[in-house]
Amino acid sequence: MIYIKKLELTAFGKFENYTLELHDGVNEFVFPNEFGKSTITDFLLFMLYGFQKTLSKKILLEDNLLKKYMPWSNVGYISGALTVVSDGVQYRIERRQRESASRSNTVVRNVSGQEIMLDCEPGEYFFGVDRDTFERTFLIRQTDIRFFGTGGIETALKNLVTTGDEGISFESAMEVLKKKKSKFQHGERRSGRIFEIPKQIAMLERQLFDKNKKLNELQGVSHQLDEIRHEITKLSATQNRLSSLLPIARGNIAKKMLEKLRFVQNEIITLKQKLDGVKLDITDKQFDSASEIFANAAACKTRLEKATADLKELEQKLAILKEDITDFDYIKQNKNEIYLKLNDKGSVNYIFIILGAIELVLGVLLYVFVSPAFLSFTGVGILFFALAFLLRKKPVLEPDIVRQYHLYVERASEIDVLTALVKKAILELETAKAEAFKNENDIKNIKQTMGVDSAQALSNLRALCNEGGLVRARILELEQTEKELLQYGSVTMLESQAQNSGELDVTLAQLENKLAQTVAEKNELTARAVSLEREAGDAAILEKEIFEIEAQISDLNTELEKAQYQNKVLDMAISALGSAYDRINSEYSPRLTEKARGILSLLTDGKYDSVYLDKQFNIRIKADGELKELGYFSRGTQDAVYFAVRRAVSELISDKNGLPVIMDDPFWSLDDKRLQNAKEYMQKIFSNSQAIIFSARQ
């Protein structure tokens, strides 16, 4: 057995440190209106299960309760304690909750004050039922009786007999499920997503079919285009391959041309060297004249050589004659003077003449004028004169000169003859030289004009000129070839190309021909591809549309799968709910009405002992031999019926009949007699358990 022993409303709404002692059995508390009976009932609920903040509609009400019961003393939290005795052991539940907190702070202690750790609410722990079951089974509120919501007491009773919970309506639960299901599948109207989605899919599939059909038509184009592109790719590869061979082919040709060019150029150089400086337009007369000049030159040369030799011989002879006359030219020029000098007696000494003259004059004068002694002076003068002749000064010649002079005189005639001959030889030589000079100039002219400087060369030239036309023609021919070769490209270019030369089994012409064919074929296909691409562009748009439609279909199939699953779940729930309803009504409702009938009879002293259910499970009471709707009866009778059914439910739906039942002014509308009956009933029913009744009436 379990019962509530003590309520301590420490801070709860209007109550502050308010205590209520209880015992097992029936505890009736008579409080005046506005005392706070409902507050104490809610306090009990708070202590056992707490108030919860949540977002759901239901718990918002409890948020309001939390706010509603915030202590008037403004401590900021509600708090209290509840003492429970379970199987003789006492426990104390302490709970406190701030308005802002989502959950309360709850502590359960045993009799020795030790805290007991619970993993659930104390109500669940001690009573073994959850909050909902507790509320609908063990808590009968004043509001339950007076205010039944939209359906009134009849609906509440119907709910009680059909679901065991006056707040739970089978119909509304079924309606909720069916409404939910109708979103997916509404059988009668064939509406809901399960019907709609396949229709949408079918519509999309039709579109898909049409577009695929169009696409198939265009895919021929696409295939063609693919093939053409493939061909173009192949041709491009061929073009690239051939193009890559071009440098080799060009290199090979360049190499050959370069070799030919170099041969031609060398040939030209050789031939030109052959004809270098040669004028090929020389006449025979010019050749004859030139030949004569060269012949003259040869003769002149001989003459010159002879003249030179003659001159040399004469000069040698002359030299021999002059050999000992080293100062020949001096001797020759001064021979007369030398001769004179050789034959000169010398000149008087004029000093002695002067001195003699002076002595003579002086002697005369002195003799005359001074003394005849001085005639000696005249002798002295004569002496001086004698000395002047004796001491005459003869010219002095060097002995070698004198020797040479005598040799010269001795050889003079021979020298003169030889000198004359030398002069003649010189003249001859000069003449020969002059002629040679002239010949030289003529040869220079010939060289200038004809490019040759010898008779042999002239002879060769003449021979060359005879074949010169042929050489020149060859050169011209070679030059033409060179020109043609160079038209192909510069030497630098050819050299550059020749570097790429290599092994190749096709010629450039073949290569170029093949390449041209490939390019032409490629261009033709490219042009065809361009026109096909326009059509393929439409195919691409279609493909994109098809892709998007397929994605939509895929999404719809996913949605359909989910809808079908939800529908299956809801079908299962609806079916199970229907079965549960049938079972409850076949097994539970008859027992309920039977039990309710007994309680009602007890409350009404047997006046109303027949409680029935019609086909819709509405309560019917037999009165005056007829089954009548509840609305027919007084409010007091209605409340009695409600109490009877509610108690019957409590007794039937749970095996936990030993739990306390809390009633908030349940009998306010009963008359005194029925109130008395109810109290007697309560005493009987709750003799082994606990009932807590808050009432405004004694």
Binding site: Q52, K53, T54, L55, S56, K58, I59, S102, R103, D119, C120, V129, D130, D132, T133, R136, T162, T163, G164, D165, G167, I168, S169, F170, S172, A173, M174, V176, L177, K180, D226, T233, A540, E543, K544, F547, E548, D555, Y565, K568, V569, L570, M572, A573, A576, L577, S579, A580, Y581, R583, I584, Y588, L652, I653, S654, D655
Partner: protein, 348 residues
């Protein structure tokens, strides 16, 4: 030389499940831009793309224009791309006209010569192209392969590790698998999946990035991108009775900056109550998504309200749990219980 290898960018993904799909699409392009900026900062001038650059063959013109502008902006970078099954060569308009510095491999194995190594690549032709392009291929010299496919997979885009190994490549770069991975083939060469550089949903949780490869040593380094990371947080709602309880629990979860978070409600409810995930999301903006995976404690539900319609309803359905053939059937029954109990409680 060094090069960057990335794949599976999936630009222009629809992100239909997310409210800010436009922002997320832009973020993907932004990640691509970040990779190119990284290349610039590190003087890397070669970027290899392993397919599925776009999420579909029909990316929006806006996205294509953005990508083109990015590629043209980085004109000093050479891009070498293969097409994937999401953006096959023959279908995707973008590949028909690409910038000059962007090379798309054709659908036959083709060689490109990089500075110090050869690169062989092959594109996927169509979405259903399932041929192993490397079958029978073998080349001389030192080279890397670039292709799109799943090694030894039973599904689409399957590639054989044996044929890839037989090519003689020194390194094999692959797209298609969105999680980065490196493995060693029979030949001893490494096969790398770059993975996607950014997660796109809660099935691609965790860090994403790209590889930087040294072609000389063939060493590779994984570089994280700054992409937002998808992460799931399991929140145990056992013992909760209301949305406010769940909000309290969700609010206590700290989501790291740069994460896109999803809360998964797990645990066992004694009794179902309407968990309006949209309402929860509006109260907990740190979570992009909230998924309810909470279970019902059927034993407790059976024991309560025993002789009521609700009790009978729970009993009838819970008896079906025992005969459920599989987890799906079991879940269906649990969901039916939840729906019924909520409906019965809704009118109270």
């Amino acid at each position: 030389m060094k090069l960057i290898f990335t794949a599976d960018l999936h630009l222009d993904t629809r992100f239909s499940a997310e409210n800010n799909a436009d922002v997320r699409r832009f973020e993907l392009i932004s990640i691509f831009s970040d990779i190119l900026d990284y290349a610039k900062q590190n003087n890397i001038t070669t970027v290899l793309l392993g397919g599925d650059m776009f999420d579909s063959p029909y990316p929006s013109n806006e996205t294509m224009a953005s990508v083109t502008a990015l590629i043209q902006k980085h004109s000093d970078i050479n891009f070498y791309a293969v097409c994937g099954n999401h953006d096959p060569l023959y279908k995707t308009a973008f590949y028909k006209s690409v910038p000059q510095n962007f090379f798309v491999f054709p659908s036959a194995v083709t060689k490109v010569q990089l500075d110090d190594i050869d690169l062989y690549g092959v594109s996927v032709k169509t979405q259903t192209d399932n041929s192993d392009a490397w079958h029978g291929f073998n080349a001389q010299g030192r080279f890397i392969t670039l292709s799109h496919g799943a090694l030894d997979s039973d599904g689409v885009m399957a590639l054989s590790s044996a044929t890839l190994s037989d090519t003689g490549g020194a390194l094999h770069l692959l797209g298609h698998i969105h999680k980065t991975n490196a493995s060693v083939l029979q030949s001893g060469a490494h096969a790398l999946y770059a993975g996607s550089p950014a997660g796109r949903g809660f099935d691609e949780c965790g860090i994403h990035g790209f590889y930087v490869i040294d072609t000389d040593s063939l060493n590779y380094t994984f570089v994280n991108t700054n992409a937002k990371i998808y992460k799931e947080y399991n929140v145990d709602v056992t013992g909760t009775n209301s949305l406010s309880d769940i909000i309290t629990k969700l609010s206590s979860v700290t989501v790291a900056p740069g994460e896109i978070a999803r809360a998964v409600l797990v645990g066992t409810l004694k009794k179902p109550f309407e968990i309006d995930v949209d309402a929860l999301c509006s109260f907990t903006p740190q979570f992009l998504e909230i998924k309810d995976k909470s279970e019902l404690d059927i034993d407790i539900m059976k024991s309560i309200s025993e002789n009521t319609l609700e009790g009978e309803f729970v009993r009838i359905l819970s008896s079906m749990l025992d005969s459920a053939q599989n987890e799906n059937d079991k879940q269906t029954v649990l969901d039916a219980i939840k729906e019924g109990v909520l409906a019965l409680g809704g009118d109270r």
